[in-house]
Symmetry: C2
Subunit: 243 residues, 2 copies
């Protein structure tokens, strides 16, 4: 059972600002809840149906909720069994030069793209993601869900991107329609590199492009489409650069 | 100006059923409207702001609408300048064996994924897409928008997929977690092949898998992510199979 006041208080975490202030984020559904538990991150509050709790043990701050109450809390269209408030982790800085590849994101706007970029990085073992400050927050609820658990296995940092790129000391591959075909670049060693992906409609900004040492083009075989989706382009390049 | 009755009538095209019955679909925003005009498809109705129309000529059935009226018609959160009702095209069957690669989709559910799959196919010159009947409609408004114009440049057919695959007479590459690494397959000729992509959570169905001649695995270098997004996986494989 949950009181009306408690429900109202927890529903306020639908506001990103509230989550940012307390350095928490919302995780929803049995699959993402299982990822949070497996990752061992501190779970502050759990609201779930009695069925979910019966299978998933006891929690210090646990509220049994109805489907209607879950809908009140949820950011999703079809909330599913469980809602969690999870604490953000403060990691030590990663030693970037020991990572096979670092992903850099310049002004990615769409939460679905951002989550898919994190998920794809996770698949290819790319653990470090640096973003311009105007890239969508990795704690946006849609990003968290689209990441399919990658939020718990990647480090996402928001930095002054042009400055970070210019001082990182690594080759920077940048997806660009003015680049050279991918195959040409793969003759050299691509270990300890950065892959830079630009905004969905404007591409890489001129300030970030200044640090791109290897502009890369994915061949446009059809010749009719204007561009690839940012996460698809990143997937093709991460696959090429990590193999 | 648009009458209340006309607005009500046109707003009924928000229902997929209505669009299916009349073999039309909705196209929104200046970018997609420009794609429809460039493609030369029959445009039945145009509703737009006066600014858009001033730049884009006259239309037989044109209604000037306000932002509020556009919102009434639109499937989008932030409708933008123009709404069009476009007729679906009845193409002749494509000679599949003359296509470099055919994309086959087994029970793709998410409209964003479907549109991105079409957009990626368009980029790689893959013009023919065959789908199981329970794949989301290519005329779903979210699919149309996510396709970024590929709806006008690809042929999407809904067929009995296991039967189509078993009688297509081409090698069938299928993305599968039980497959062999991609690099191993690329030593052979991959022209005139089919790439089969399965459902977002269940993968390729057993009935379709029976026709897969080349199960392909995209190396899971991180070892922690469960899967790749369907459109990202398809992008990596289309890039590999068309180069």
């Amino acid at each position: 059972m949950i009181s009306k006041n408690k429900l109202k208080e927890l529903a306020s975490y639908r506001q990103q600002k509230r989550c940012d202030e307390e350095a928490v984020f919302v995780v929803e559904g049995p699959k993402m809840a299982a990822e949070a538990m497996a990752a061992g991150v501190p779970i502050r509050v759990v609201c779930a149906t009695s069925e979910w709790n019966a299978d998933n043990g006891m929690w210090e701050e646990y509220y049994e909720v109805s489907q209607a109450e879950l809908e009140r809390l949820s950011n999703m269209r079809s909330p599913n069994q469980v809602w969690m408030l999870v604490e953000r982790q403060h990691h030590q800085p990663l030693p970037t030069t020991h990572q096979p590849l670092t992903l850099a994101l310049d002004k990615i706007q769409d939460p679905g793209n951002m989550g898919t970029l994190m998920r794809t990085a996770d698949w290819f073992g790319v653990r470090h993601i640096v973003c311009s400050p105007d890239t969508v927050s990795c704690y946006n609820p849609k990003v968290v869900q689209a990441s399919m658990g990658a939020i718990f296995r990647t480090r996402v940092e928001y930095v002054d991107l042009p400055q970070w790129l210019s001082s990182c000391g690594m080759p920077v591959f940048g997806a660009s329609l003015q680049g050279e075909p991918l195959a040409k670049h793969l003759t050299q060693n691509t270990q300890h590199s950065v892959l830079l992906i630009g905004n969905e409609s404007r591409g890489i900004s001129p300030e970030a492009m200044a640090s791109v040492t290897h502009p890369v083009l994915i061949p446009n075989i059809g010749g009719t489409a204007e561009s690839l989706n940012a996460a698809v382009a990143a997937g093709i390049l991460m696959h090429a650069l990590t193999k």
